[in-house]
């Protein structure tokens, strides 16, 4: 069947199988940041924006995204680099496999709520699993980033 999906602002018009999942559509069209970590919707690695909402691309048929706007980390490189630098400065990116899904969902949170409390951050990101970092370093990085965005004290350790 034919679909036209806007991926990071660019329209991709193509033929797909009816049961092609959005994650595979995206990966097949160069968005390799979208990762697969499970088959049950539990890990959050495949998080992308569908019409501005963070969703699990492994559970969305590509056909459902026809005529819709999809954003992946490939389309948010500047924001990812700016935000990601704060995670990197904690060493909390570790293996990096959970990073794209995490950054996508965190960016969604910050857009909804630019000044979230720690509890709110944890709850919003509860669906993003990480096995390497123990979550604490990612939280440190986010707090520092949010302070930086507020223009307040940075505490941002500039590392080589």
């Amino acid at each position: 069947m034919k679909v036209g999906i806007y991926v990071n602002g660019k329209k991709i018009a193509t033929d797909i199988a009816p049961d092609l999942l959005l994650i595979d559509f995206l990966r097949n069209h160069g968005c390799k940041s979208v990762k697969r970590g499970c088959e049950t919707g539990n890990c959050g690695l495949c998080t992308v924006f569908l019409e501005d909402k963070p969703v699990l691309s492994c559970a969305v048929p590509a056909a459902r995204a026809d005529r819709c706007q999809v954003v992946t980390l490939e389309g948010l490189q500047e924001e990812a680099a700016e935000f990601g630098a704060f995670i990197a400065d904690q060493g909390a990116e570790q293996c990096g496999f959970c990073n794209p899904g995490l950054l996508m969902n965190a960016i969604a949170l910050f857009r909804e709520n630019p000044d979230p409390a720690e509890d709110e951050i944890r709850e919003y990101l509860a669906g993003n699993l990480c096995r390497c970092s123990g979550y604490e370093g990612q939280l440190r990085g986010m707090r520092t980033y949010l302070d930086f965005k507020k223009g307040g004290k940075t505490g941002h350790e500039v590392c080589e």
Partner: protein, 264 residues
């Protein structure tokens, strides 16, 4: 792995209903549970073009379209005000925000899953379901039926003045619940709903009018004990029947005390 031979974005409910009569076809909700089945599906029927993804409020009712994501329900201010935050509490443990942006109220209800927080919560309210062919029936009636080929169009919650509390217990914060408990009271009439027994949610009205005497530590104990004796619990991977029965008593008691104004 989900396999679909065909994908149709329904242009009307009639079309969706007709397509759904074929046994190998399926309505696609959030697709989160469907994806885990290995049943080959002929045609997946997508209702997302039918504007069924909104929550409308009238003076008497909340009308929740079947394609409304759980997240929208969770954040709905008026619905949460009406239920004193119980609706939000029933939803916030479900996996994650991304999951709840996809999982639909219709999918969660139609599935009549034992572990469903949503079903437990809705059953505690004056909830009806509106079916394409079957018309309007109470959620309790609907939940007792086996899944068929009808389409659930919307959930209707009557705004009867009531107080609501939702509590649950799970082995870890984003796991399926081991037991769910919703309590609602309208005047002096109370009802508890216990789900994830692991069986699907059942309603236990306060037929003996224990709580109509007022909420005290004593009436809370007695009602909780009553509820735990009414339900049938079972054992599965997550918990034993005994523990579930024990939790039913604990959570019911706490729900009653919370409703009575105590901060637990």
């Amino acid at each position: 792995m989900l396999t679909l031979k065909d994908y149709v974005r329904a242009e009307s409910l009639t079309q969706a209903y007709e397509l759904n009569q074929k046994k190998s076809n399926r309505i696609l909700g959030g697709m989160l549970w469907l994806k885990m089945t290995h049943l080959p599906v002929q045609t997946g029927i997508d209702l997302s073009g039918l504007r069924l993804n909104t929550i409308e409020e009238t003076p008497d009712e909340f009308l929740i379209g079947c394609m409304t994501p759980l997240r929208d329900l969770e954040l709905h201010q008026e619905l949460n005000r009406y239920t004193q935050g119980a609706v939000r509490e029933s939803l916030r443990h479900i996996v994650g925000v991304q999951f709840r942006n996809l999982a639909t109220v219709g999918g969660s209800t139609f599935g009549r899953f034992g572990f469903s927080d949503v079903l437990t919560m809705l059953m505690a309210l004056d909830t009806d379901v509106e079916l394409y062919s079957g018309g309007i029936l109470s959620l309790a009636q609907f939940a007792a039926m086996a899944p068929d080929r009808d389409i659930l169009i919307r959930i209707r919650i009557k705004k009867t003045p009531r107080k609501s509390v939702y509590l649950s217990h799970r082995n870890s914060q984003t796991d399926l619940p081991v037991l769910t408990c919703a309590l609602s009271g309208c005047g002096s009439k109370f009802q508890a709903v216990i789900g994830a027994r692991p069986g699907r949610a059942v309603r236990i009205p306060d037929e003996q009018r224990i709580l109509s005497e007022g909420i005290t530590s004593n009436t809370a104990d007695r009602f909780a004990e009553y509820v735990s004796r009414q339900i049938v619990t079972g054992t599965n991977m997550r918990a034993s029947a005994d523990y579930r029965r024990h939790l039913a008593e604990v959570l019911t008691r706490r729900a009653v005390l919370t409703m009575g104004g105590e901060r637990l």
